[in-house]
């Protein structure tokens, strides 16, 4: 537990990815394989099912700390992190544990699964008493399942690659699927490459920058292939050696999440890699992205969700044909073969090309984006290769402007983690007659300096408190930008928006001049459907 608590501190003390990878590498190379396996499990966000209710946990911590419950609540509001609050409040540590991480998990935590509350309490209190403050914190993070320390899967992959001398893609692949955090698993993970990962390996994605300045500066419109820009999950569909894989851009293997795409595999020629966007899709058009989120959150996909939220891949490009890497071939070549291999009337829909004679025509057609539920256009230079990473020149994204609304700050509550004890999470209202109706929540878009000013305003202008939430004098006006808009019976305003954020603090506007709910309703698409997505 010593090494693990030190690792946690080391990861927490730097924002530099190289230093995080170094700390991980040091840790993995000095601990027993079973510890490394457990640490990797937590760091990549897998964890045993949560065993303990936080209500019970806080009750036991309160008893052990000897403070009243109300004071624990005050402390939690100031800290903003449950595991940390407990670690800070427990009586000063008198010992420090030399026992390894896997002992703590396997011998102390997992057996609590079948224990009654009294046994759980006794075991936890004993654990706290055996640990020092840092260890208690890391342990609390593990048992509360809030294990986030700014380490992505890709950093763990880099560290394992450094420890084992393996290629990162091999490690990524080995970390996929079902495995148990055991010493044996770790030994397999770092064992010499047997070529097992090559078959699934995706290509690095080519990403576009936004087009800036006058669009005419891109030259003759005829030199560009124009497609709609969809908002889903960018992915590669891979068919090799009779097997099918779907990789997300975040290098996550998502094959099992998308059985519709897995089923496409056998219809593709051997040695195929398609680049595209996975979208929830029904009746020839995308569903709101929130529907996709419903699906992604699930481990088990039942028939109901599959029929309610089916997915397709809108195919953008073909990267591998009959086992040959064709990324250097011209766009037109890749496109022609993509159209050829895509099975008709399937879940693989080749992204349609928009034709326009002039930039003026194209600008006009871009206005269709919201009705089509897309973000705007993608512009791809004819004759260009498929490049690696985010590059300027051959691909540009040309998005429509976001919606924007002036709304009044009506509620505020403290943020979490680094924003704890600052009021950073805001609810905004718009006018419905002479009342402000809550319309959207937003957390981002302000500078640190502006956050401090708003925080001071909230403290000085609270009119009512509901737990951590403050109702404030309706005075501050912010321009909110958002992408999609749709009807929602779950929201008091009857409206839900996608990606709301603060575009600007309208210090020039008084609350009375903020927008009304009617103005916002007018943005809704006709009928019962949703507005443009992202």
């Amino acid at each position: 537990m010593k090494a693990f608590a030190e690792l946690y501190v080391a990861l927490d003390e730097t924002t530099k990815t190289n230093e995080k990878v170094e700390a991980l590498t040091r840790y993995f190379s000095r601990v027993p394989p079973a510890d490394a396996a457990w640490a990797a499990t937590f760091l990549i966000g897998r964890r045993p099912k949560r065993l303990l209710e936080s209500r019970k946990l806080s009750q036991w911590a309160i008893e052990e700390s000897g403070i009243p419950e109300w004071l624990f609540g005050e402390c939690y509001h100031a800290v903003g992190d449950f595991a940390e609050t407990i670690a800070l409040l427990l009586p000063p540590a008198r010992s420090s544990s030399d026992l390894p991480l896997h002992y703590w998990i396997e011998e102390r935590l997992l057996p609590l699964r079948d224990a009654d509350d009294e046994a759980r309490r006794a075991s936890l209190v004993a654990a706290w008493r055996e640990m020092d403050e840092r260890q208690r914190f890391a342990w609390n993070k593990i048992i509360t399942g809030e294990f986030r320390v700014g380490v992505s899967q890709s950093l763990v992959v880099r560290a394992v690659a450094a420890v084992s001398g393996l290629d990162g893609a091999v490690v990524s692949h080995r970390l996929m699927g079902d495995w148990q955090p055991t010493a044996a698993f770790w030994m397999q993970l770092v064992a010499t490459d047997a070529g097992d990962a090559d078959v699934s390996r995706p290509y690095p994605f080519f990403l576009a920058y936004p087009a800036e300045g006058a669009i005419e500066e891109l030259g003759d419109v005829g030199e560009w292939q124009v497609e709609w820009k969809w908002d889903g999950i960018r992915a590669q569909l891979i068919r090799r050696s009779g097997r099918t894989f779907v990789w997300s851009r975040g290098e996550e293997l998502m094959t099992d999440r998308f059985p519709e795409l897995k089923a496409l595999g056998p219809q593709l020629p051997e040695g195929t890699v398609v680049d595209g966007e996975v979208l929830p899709w029904k009746n020839g058009e995308p569903l709101p992205f929130a529907q996709m989120q419903r699906r992604i959150g699930r481990k088990v996909l039942g028939p109901r969700i599959l029929s309610e939220v089916p997915v397709v891949m809108v195919a953008y490009d073909l990267l591998e044909l009959h086992g040959e890497d064709i990324r250097e071939r011209p766009l037109e070549f890749r496109r022609a073969h993509l159209e050829e291999i895509a099975p008709p009337d399937s879940a693989l829909i080749v992204s349609s090309v928009v034709r326009a004679e002039t930039w003026v025509d194209l600008t006009a057609r871009r206005e269709e984006a919201r009705a089509r539920k897309v973000e705007g256009f993608m512009l791809k230079r004819l004759g260009s290769p498929y490049r690696v990473g985010r590059r300027r020149g051959d691909w540009w994204k040309w998005k429509i402007q976001p919606y924007s609304v002036d709304a009044v700050l009506i509620y505020a509550q403290p943020g979490n983690g680094r924003r704890a004890s600052l009021f950073t999470d805001y609810t905004f209202g718009v006018w419905d007659g002479d009342k402000l109706v809550p319309f959207a929540k937003a957390y981002s878009g302000l500078t640190d300096d502006e956050i401090r000013q708003v925080d001071a305003f909230v403290r000085g202008n609270t009119i009512e408190k509901f737990g951590p939430v403050r109702a404030v004098k309706p005075e501050l006006v912010f321009e909110l930008a958002f992408e999609g808009i749709q009807r929602s019976p779950r929201h008091r305003s009857g409206i839900a928006v996608r990606f709301p954020r603060m575009a600007r603090w309208r210090t020039d506007k008084k609350a009375e001049a903020a927008d009304t709910i009617e103005t916002i309703r007018a943005l809704l698409p006709p009928g019962g459907g949703s507005g443009a997505i992202g």
Binding site: W70, V79, L88, L89, R419, A420, R452, D455
Partner: protein, 341 residues
């Protein structure tokens, strides 16, 4: 009888002695607990302060101001009250104000801490009927580690940075905290430099006879100085300014009680936080309150609401009072010490 002190628009006022304690607006006569900006407002006609802090106060309120220095424990009569100043252990010259009238005693603590500090006189418990306390760190999550451990951490961090050829930029409140840090560092570890805001107060401390590790003002360092072995003491407001660029590769640390909370450090994107405060932690506040023997407690700036609630449940007559003191600030005003709006 009227209370000896009342809260007015100018600050805490003693009508029987016709003086204010740490007024936030200019007044005729101001009793100053210590020279931090939120307690020592310029512009008053006459000031009274503890002798060791008089020079610091002069720096804050200007060369022309009338400042009367009192020794710790030296009583004076003002109107119908007896007043004396007693060490508060916060910074050099910090004082608690004891006010006595007709056998009733009030003590205004100003800011204070109970831990020993080589740069100032130690906090002295003063028996009283009413104790006016700060509450900057008035939650039990605030529990200070032993000072020796913190200095060991700072020195290890500095050593690690020297090893990695990185400058060590250590942020600390420029009056009080920076000097306390200097008194605890070993000049044999490497060269120590200061930001101008810090150096100004170091000079006053040295003139008062406080032993501090030798320092060089950053601006006095010749071009081409190798910063990779140096520790640079600077106010937190210097973080992220162009002033920092000269140091090349660096690691940042912040010495503050707020660093007890992980989120407070992460929010500032600092590499390291060192938990060292010139304010009392929860236990310190409760100890001072208990040792004062007071039955009535007025709670000023900080986590007033939980402290008042806690004291009431202990059977004390406690109430929160409105002041404009700010407690341990990081000079950017970022830290919301208040538990209440």
């Amino acid at each position: 009888m009227d209370p000896l002190l009342q809260v007015t628009d100018n600050g805490l006022y003693c009508a029987h002695g016709d003086f204010y304690v740490d007024p936030w607006l200019p007044v005729d006569r101001a009793m100053i607990t210590h020279a931090h900006a939120d307690h020592a407002c310029p512009g008053s006609r006459a000031y009274l302060a503890a002798r060791p802090g008089a020079a610091l106060l002069r720096g804050r309120v200007g060369g022309e101001a009338a400042i009367q220095a009192l020794d710790y424990g030296e009583p004076i009569s003002l109107g119908s009250v007896q007043v004396s100043l007693h060490p508060a252990g916060h910074i050099l010259g910090s004082a608690q104000v004891r006010i006595e009238s007709g056998g009733e005693v009030w003590v205004v603590s100003g800011d204070y801490k109970l831990e020993p500090d080589p740069t100032c006189a130690a906090f002295e418990p003063v028996a009283c009927d009413t104790f006016v306390t700060e509450s900057t760190f008035g939650l039990p999550i605030y529990r200070w580690p032993p000072e020796a451990d913190v200095f060991a951490e700072i020195r290890n961090w500095w050593a690690g940075n020297r090893h990695a050829d990185k400058a060590s930029v250590l942020f600390a409140y420029s009056l009080g905290k920076a000097q306390r840090v200097l008194a605890g560092l070993d000049p044999a570890d490497g060269p120590i430099y200061t930001h101008g805001a810090v150096e100004k107060f170091c000079k006053l401390y040295r003139e008062a006879g406080i032993a501090l590790a030798p320092t060089t003002h950053v601006s006095a360092a010749p071009a081409g100085t190798d910063w990779s072995r140096a520790l640079i003491l600077a106010p937190p407001s210097a973080n992220g300014t162009p002033w920092m660029r000269r140091f090349g590769p660096l690691s940042t640390g912040f010495v503050s009680g707020w660093m007890r909370i992980r989120g407070a450090r992460r929010r500032r994107s600092l590499d390291r936080g060192f938990v060292l405060s010139d304010h009392a932690d929860w236990l310190g506040l409760m100890t001072a309150i208990r040792e004062s023997g007071a039955s009535r407690i007025w709670v000023t700036h900080g986590y007033r609401a939980p402290v008042v609630e806690w004291l009431k449940r202990q059977g004390l007559d406690a109430q929160a009072i409105e002041t404009r003191f700010e407690g341990e600030q990081d000079e950017t005003g970022a830290e919301p010490a208040e538990g209440e709006p």
